[in-house]
């Protein structure tokens, strides 16, 4: 095993992304929003190829058309669920008679069914979006993929809702479980990423954060977030290569304050510059130790539709740039 240390570089420029976003905004307005999937694709193509490793940029292969079709599918899926729920609720009301309807049985059935539908759609959307993005990402001609299933993620999301009942003590375990799901489900070609983190390691820092964060008026949270970030990367591997992140709480705080300042004085117009600053910060503090023995990696691309992305967009939640993390 070689112990070469290699940096991950970021070559994006805020001014490029700014002009790109402005052009996107104008086109989106002119087309009454129809252009939006193409706009999103252009931004991703820019950001993906702004990140390079070993002198090779990442490549985003998604197209606006795929996202557009995915969005239509996602919207139809949500409408389908609502219509189906309405039909079932009406059927239940009809079967139970007027007295039950008067007591609100239709409203209850409807909200139960729609609530369940949304609860299932959230993991479908998040996992689907990640599958789509990874399958459209390549480096050195080899595609990434994500092979985690939404059923497993549904269980993780469910355990996340139970965390408050443990007074937050279960948080590090659920957090690590979720990270393990995302990291180990990610493949580069036929090679899976590996993760050997353990929730117990984060338990001490988490307790410290629970105590110190209120005492420092929230400032300590940046140090905890940085430690958590370092921990997750530090336990991620691809073959013989491992990752080391060196972000510090102070650096994270400075980044965040700088971003806040930029966004406030420009009323949000500086968003592209903030995006590049974040990307530069994360990649600038990430190195790869050891060689990922590329000769053994073989193309093993997976099919993935953009329907999950479409559901995510229709549910109106946006996810962070998901390069390799």
């Amino acid at each position: 095993m070689q112990n070469t240390v290699r940096r991950i570089g970021c070559r994006g420029r805020g001014s490029d992304l700014f002009l790109l976003s402005l052009g996107n905004l104008l086109r989106t307005i002119l087309t009454l929003g129809i252009y939006e999937p193409w706009a999103r694709t252009r931004v991703r193509r820019y950001l993906w190829s702004a990140v390079e490793f070993g002198g090779e940029p990442f490549v985003y292969h998604g197209t606006g058309k795929e996202l557009f079709i995915g969005r239509i599918k996602g919207t139809l899926l949500i409408w389908g669920i609502v219509v189906l729920a309405a039909a079932i609720a009406a059927g239940v009301g009809f079967a139970l008679g007027p007295a039950a309807v008067e007591a609100g049985v239709i409203d209850l059935t409807l909200s139960l069914l729609v609530g369940t539908g949304i609860a299932v759609l959230v993991p479908v959307a998040i996992v689907g979006a990640r599958r789509y993005r990874m399958s459209r990402t390549s480096w050195r001609g080899i595609r990434f993929s994500f092979r985690g299933t939404w059923r497993r993620y549904l269980l993780i999301l469910f355990s996340r809702t139970l965390v408050p009942f443990t007074l937050g003590l279960a948080y590090p375990f659920v957090y690590i479980r979720e990270k393990r799901f995302f990291v180990t489900g990610t493949y580069y070609g036929n090679r899976p990423f590996a993760f050997d983190g353990d929730g117990r390691d984060l338990f001490g820092p988490w307790l410290k954060a629970l105590i110190l964060t209120p005492l420092t008026l929230g400032l300590y949270w940046f140090w905890f977030a940085a430690e958590r970030h370092r921990y997750v990367w530090g336990h991620t591997r691809l073959g013989a290569a491992r990752f080391v992140s060196t972000i510090s709480g102070g650096g994270l705080l400075r980044l965040w304050l700088g971003n806040l300042f930029l966004l406030i004085i420009t009323l949000g117009v500086a968003w592209p510059f903030v995006t590049i600053r974040n990307l530069e910060f994360m990649t600038g503090h990430l190195v790869v130790v050891g060689a990922p023995d590329l000769d053994a990696v073989v193309q093993d691309a997976q099919k993935a539709s953009a329907a999950g992305e479409g559901v995510a967009a229709a549910l109106d939640f946006d996810m962070e740039l998901g390069l390799a993390m």
Binding site: G23, S49, E56, Q299
Partner: protein
């Protein structure tokens, strides 16, 4: 336009699309495609029509060409001159391919685009939307107007008592009937409520409902003054100003809600619009209603100057601006305009049956 360089060979990397290995190649541009020569001297030929550019539209990106085949093969060249030569060699295939635009041109393009769209939006807001609203207002079904008007009336008078004095109602009915006849409208098109509140105000709602507040009636010293206000509000209804205002404000609110992605705000906007909470008429609409009201008053035999007199007295007497004026043009301007319209008429009894105005106007308390 950049001159195609005389260079014919470029160093690049070849990816076979099956492994993560890369192979150094020499890339050559030929008449029908590109050739990739490996270190072993073997040459791969890729026709132009099978090539797709996936990177190279930005200055920091290398030029990356993919070939459609079972495995996604690709070649990457760092030298930008390669792309210019490629475009010159195969303009049909690469003419529209991404190449970094000079920064200054990008900035100019973005500025022109922004100014053009802002200008178009402003023009649409200033002229397009009002014209469209006026056009649509004439086509809105009257049942829809009546429903909105009734809803708004309920909202505006919620919690307020009503003045039901028969003499007052008879007087107002008589005025409405006479004013409607004088302007060629059907008296059945109008309904009125008198709300028991000291507010000096009156509203015209879509569908013909007019709300008069007790405060306004008490301040009218002659029947003609109240008739002036009624004539003015009736003209707002007849000219469908409320419906126009509704149609004019709605798209702007929808647009704002759409841009901010704020669905609850959209719901509130629709609600506010539907209850006419925040609607106001344009100055042009007020002038139009004043002109038509003055003509109606003259035709009904009432004093067209009474409205002007009433307005200027209200303004003079009240230290604060009364509600009736808050969304109207400056009173002085309106009074002057009304005075030029209104020939001095005989302030004699246009309302012979309204014998005791002093009693009637204080009938509600």
């Amino acid at each position: 336009m950049d001159e195609p360089s005389q260079q014919t060979r470029w160093p690049g990397w070849y990816y076979d699309g099956r492994t993560a290995r890369r192979e150094p190649v020499t890339v050559m541009i030929g008449p029908g495609g590109i050739g990739l020569m490996g270190e072993d001297g073997r040459v791969r030929f890729w026709p132009f029509e099978e090539l797709r550019q996936t990177q190279g539209a930005f200055a920091h990106e290398p030029i990356r060409l993919e070939r459609d085949s079972d495995a996604p093969e690709a070649v990457v060249v760092d030298d930008r001159a390669f792309l210019d030569t490629l475009r010159a060699a195969a303009p049909r295939h690469f003419g529209r391919y991404g190449r970094p635009r000079p920064f200054g041109r990008q900035v100019r393009l973005a500025t022109v685009g922004t100014v053009a769209i802002l200008g178009a939006a402003l023009a649409g807001y200033l002229w397009g939307v009002p014209a469209l609203a006026a056009h649509l207002a004439d086509r809105v079904p009257s049942t829809w107007e009546e429903r909105i008007g009734a809803q708004a009336a309920a909202q505006l008078t919620a919690g307020l008592g009503r003045c039901e004095d028969p003499a007052l109602h008879r007087a107002i009915e008589q005025m409405v009937a006479a004013l409607a006849r004088a302007s060629g409208l059907s008296p059945d098109a109008f309904r009125f409520h008198v709300a028991d509140d000291s507010l000096v105000n009156a509203f015209a709602l879509p569908g013909g409902t007019i709300i008069l507040f007790r405060g306004l009636i008490q301040r009218a010293e002659t029947p003609d003054e109240l008739a002036g206000v009624l004539a003015h509000e009736m003209q707002h209804v007849a000219l469908r100003h409320s419906t126009q205002a509704l149609l004019r404000e709605l798209p702007v609110r929808i647009l704002i809600a759409g841009l901010t992605g704020d669905a609850p705000a959209l719901g509130q906007a629709l609600h506010a619009a539907a209850t006419l909470r925040s609607l106001h008429f344009s100055r042009e609409a007020e002038r139009e209603a004043d002109r038509a009201a003055a003509a109606t008053l003259a035709a009904a035999g009432a004093d067209p100057g009474a409205l002007a007199a009433f307005l200027s007295r209200l303004e003079r007497e009240d230290a604060g601006v009364p509600a009736y004026f808050s969304t109207h043009p400056p009173t002085r301007e309106r009074v002057t305009a009304l005075a030029t319209l209104a020939p001095a008429a005989d302030p004699a009894a246009a309302w012979p049956s309204i014998a005791d105005w002093e009693m009637i106007r204080y009938s509600c308390h």
